[in-house]
């Protein structure tokens, strides 16, 4: 950035600081959450420490781990779908509808295809992604052409999706009936995804899909021109437009990508578990994805941990219920954790920003004091601006173009 050792050194210190802040935020969040949860439980007459012990014991057992991993796969995919939108300030609340519509059509296509076996899998996956992309694309199109808020349109599309499935998931339309369950035709055994056998149960092979999706997300958004454009639209539309980015096209593209990812959310259940889409197909994972994306800070690895944490809480929540605790306490914990994380990150970000400003300011003041004394010192006049943006309070120009000193996505 600069050859002058005087300006170089503080910058390096800020970098170390950044690392520290990166750890401070989640640590603060978890500690806060822990304290609040303990308080809530104590106030309602439940022993929090015994509960944490039960959760810790039970959640780390081998069969619990398999269960948790399997449960986390759709959560992760859902979080990635939401995060794609988040990165450009699009709030796709419609992942829930997108994945259900996608899973329904994918299951129907898979069930009615005539050629046998493994060959159907790519068709099922592609159908799911395409349907999810179309369903989200509607909202993207409406936003780009008519300025309709994606928050409104996606949540309405959730309802429309529910009605569409309700209509088609009917004996004689695209489904058949077994007792009280109406479902698409069962996929044959050969069309199911592989599983990884362990001593404690089977891990869904669709974990591979989640890993590939996570890698693709990381690479596409963090390492490509497209990802840069997408993020820059999220940072400032006018700046992106000035940089030659078509904002409308980016809106549609981001929604389509988010929807395609959402289409995969139902696949672990469909291809590794149920083999059919029926009126017992799990719902609500799209909303879970929003919380997990927030918790994981839109970071590919962060979201993986968040998804595992969510699954851990659900697994151990069932056990808590068994031990006489209220099952609702898990929902309370999830809420508290998300709030703590959001608040802690914001606090740490502001604190880091102020600290950074103070340091740069102090350093400039020191230099201003030093310059007149050392006449002819090799400090060019245009040097100071290189470090001043932080001091002027423009957080965007701080470091490496990151708006957030704790943003883990920016190296």
């Amino acid at each position: 950035m600069t050859t002058s050792p005087r300006t170089w050194q503080p910058l390096r210190r800020i970098d170390r600081e950044k690392l520290l802040l990166g750890f401070a935020a989640p640590a603060l969040a978890l500690a806060t959450a822990f304290v609040i949860i303990s308080l809530v439980m104590s106030l309602t007459g439940q022993n929090p420490f015994l509960a944490f012990q039960i959760m810790g014991d039970y959640g780390t057992k081998a069969d619990s781990q398999v269960w948790i991993i399997n449960k986390a796969i759709p959560y992760y995919l859902s979080a990635v779908a939401v995060a794609i939108g988040f990165r450009m300030n699009l709030f796709n609340i419609g992942v829930d509808g997108q994945y259900q519509v996608a899973a329904f059509f994918a299951a129907a296509v898979g069930g009615y295809l005539t050629f046998s076996g493994t060959l159907r899998i790519p068709f099922i996956l592609l159908t799911a992604m395409a349907v999810g992309a179309i369903w989200a694309g509607i909202a993207g199109f409406l936003k780009a052409t008519r300025g309709v808020s994606e928050v409104i349109s996606t949540i309405m599309l959730n309802a429309i999706g529910g009605a569409l499935i309700g209509y088609l998931l009917h004996d004689g339309r695209l489904a058949e009936r077994t007792q009280n369950i109406v479902h698409t035709p069962y996929l044959p055994e050969s069309t199911m995804f592989f599983t990884i056998q362990t001593d404690a149960g089977r891990i869904y092979g669709t974990i591979v899909i989640a890993i590939v999706a996570g890698l693709a997300y990381w690479y596409l958004l963090g390492r490509t021109r497209f990802g840069f454009d997408l993020r820059s639209v999220g940072e400032s539309e006018s700046a992106a437009r000035a940089g030659g980015v078509s904002v409308k096209r980016m809106v549609i593209t981001a929604m389509v990508l988010s929807g395609a990812m959402a289409g995969l959310v139902g696949m672990p259940t469909l291809l590794n578990d149920s083999g059919t889409f029926g009126n017992n197909f799990p719902g609500g994972i799209g909303f879970m994805g929003i919380a997990i994306a927030l918790l994981g800070r839109n970071h590919a690895v962060g979201m993986a941990f968040a998804a595992l944490l969510w699954a851990f809480l659900e697994r151990t929540g069932g056990r808590l219920n068994f031990e006489g605790y209220n099952q609702e306490i898990v929902g309370v914990m999830q809420g508290i954790i998300v709030l703590s994380v959001v608040i802690a990150y914001e606090l740490v970000r502001r604190w880091g920003l102020r600290r950074q400003q103070r340091m740069v300011g102090a350093q400039l003041a020191a230099r201003a004091a030093a310059t007149p004394a050392a006449v002819g010192a090799p400090v060019p006049m245009e040097k100071p601006p290189a470090t001043t943006p932080g001091a002027t309070g423009d957080r965007r120009a701080g470091q490496n173009g990151s708006d957030d000193p704790t943003d883990p996505e920016v190296p």
Binding site: Y58, T60, K61, A62, D63, S64, Q65, V66, W67, I68, I69, N70, K71, A72, Y76, G162, A163, I165, G166, Y167, L169, D171, R177, Q179, N180, I181, V182, T198, D199, A200, I203, I207, A210, I211, G214, T269, D273, S274, N279, N280, P282, G283, G284, I285, A300, V301, A304, F305, L308, E314, R315, G318, R319, N321, F322, Q327, G331
Partner: protein
């Protein structure tokens, strides 16, 4: 990334399972409820009453577990597995969503007896309890048609699924057979979402809309959510609510509104659950499919409150017609 995390997790506690199979005395009966929980005053409550009766008469205690909304089969399997591993016997899943999970878990615990309400599950150690809801609903329809003064009655279903359509079909047929001029307004709270059984506010809203359209008898088949409809109906003079699954006139949680509860289409889940617990207690566990119909008093129309005493002749005629096979009640609308 995820793999590393997964492997790290798996490596840390290999081979250790979360629960060891309990030995010795069974701690009693394990009951896993559908959404809404034991105090839904309706469906789950009926199952709980069966267990309460077993506790009183047989000294068998019960452990109640409840489902959350939006569960998967994995969640349900976990709940059932834990009950079975802790030694509970029988283990009963209340609600059709438990069908798959019961079949899978029953296979792993051949020495435990399993029961499932509203579904038929495979397995030699599984007792499936199914009910003729449409027959009781038919009688509710007869009562509604005779009691309405506006000529309009309403049906509120929780979720538009075959199970709830049975209630609708029976009710509509009962109304039409009694008085073809009476119009039945059918509404479902959700097309495809189990919140339909817990969303009290939405049922209240729906009932409010119906009352505004001059409908004066509302039959709700929506589990816990139906309480909202009953509450709303109770606020209107001259309007009647018809309860479901439990005799809702007798429910403590609904005592405030009981003077508006005309009758209830009762589903004898308590009878079925008690049957099963008793059979296990006696060492001769039931298995296969248990059908509970109007003929064998597995379902019935409640008379608590005495509001339908004046029309009992018509209702008895209809009951006899169904029992004798003269009236065939459709189970799909």
């Amino acid at each position: 990334m995820a793999v590393t995390a997964a492997l790290a997790l798996t490596a840390s506690a290999c081979g250790e399972s979360s629960t060891e199979t309990a030995d010795g005395e069974s701690p009693g009966v394990g009951i896993a409820f559908d959404v809404g929980g034991r105090d839904d005053q309706s469906f789950n409550e009926a199952a709980a009453r069966g267990a309460d009766q077993a506790e009183e008469e047989l000294g068998v205690s019960a452990n109640f577990q409840t489902a959350r909304n939006d569960e998967t089969d994995a969640d349900r399997e976990q709940r059932l597995t834990e009950l079975a591993q802790e030694g509970y016997n029988p283990v009963i899943g209340v609600g059709f969503l438990y069908g798959n999970a019961i079949a899978r878990v029953a296979e792993q615990f051949p020495d435990t007896t399993f029961g499932v309400v509203d579904a038929v599950a495979e397995g030699d150690n599984v007792y499936s309890m199914v009910f003729a809801e449409h027959e009781a609903s038919y009688l509710a329809g007869v009562a509604a048609a005779l009691k309405t003064e506006t000529g309009k009655v309403g049906f509120i279903g929780g979720v538009n699924i075959p199970l709830i359509q049975k209630f609708q079909a029976g009710f509509e047929q009962g109304v039409n057979d009694t008085d073809p001029d009476v119009v039945v307004d059918v509404q479902y709270l959700y097309a495809d979402d189990d919140r339909g059984f817990t969303d009290v506010a939405k049922a209240k809203e729906q009932a409010d809309g119906m009352l505004g359209r001059d409908i004066d008898v509302i039959y709700s088949a929506a589990g816990l959510a139906g309480n909202g409809s009953i509450e709303e109906v109770a606020g209107v003079e001259g309007a009647w609510a018809i309860g479901v699954d439990s005799d809702q006139y007798l429910q403590d949680g609904l005592a405030e509104y009981k003077d508006s509860i005309l009758t209830s289409a009762v589903k004898g889940v308590n009878v079925a659950v008690f049957d099963l617990i008793q059979s296990v207690h006696d060492g001769e566990p039931l298995n296969g499919v248990g059908e509970y119909t109007l003929a064998d008093e597995g379902v019935w129309l409640a008379t608590s409150g005495g509001f339908i005493d004046d029309i009992m002749d018509e209702i008895d005629t209809a009951r006899e017609g169904i029992v004798s096979g003269e009236i065939v009640v459709n189970d799909t609308p």
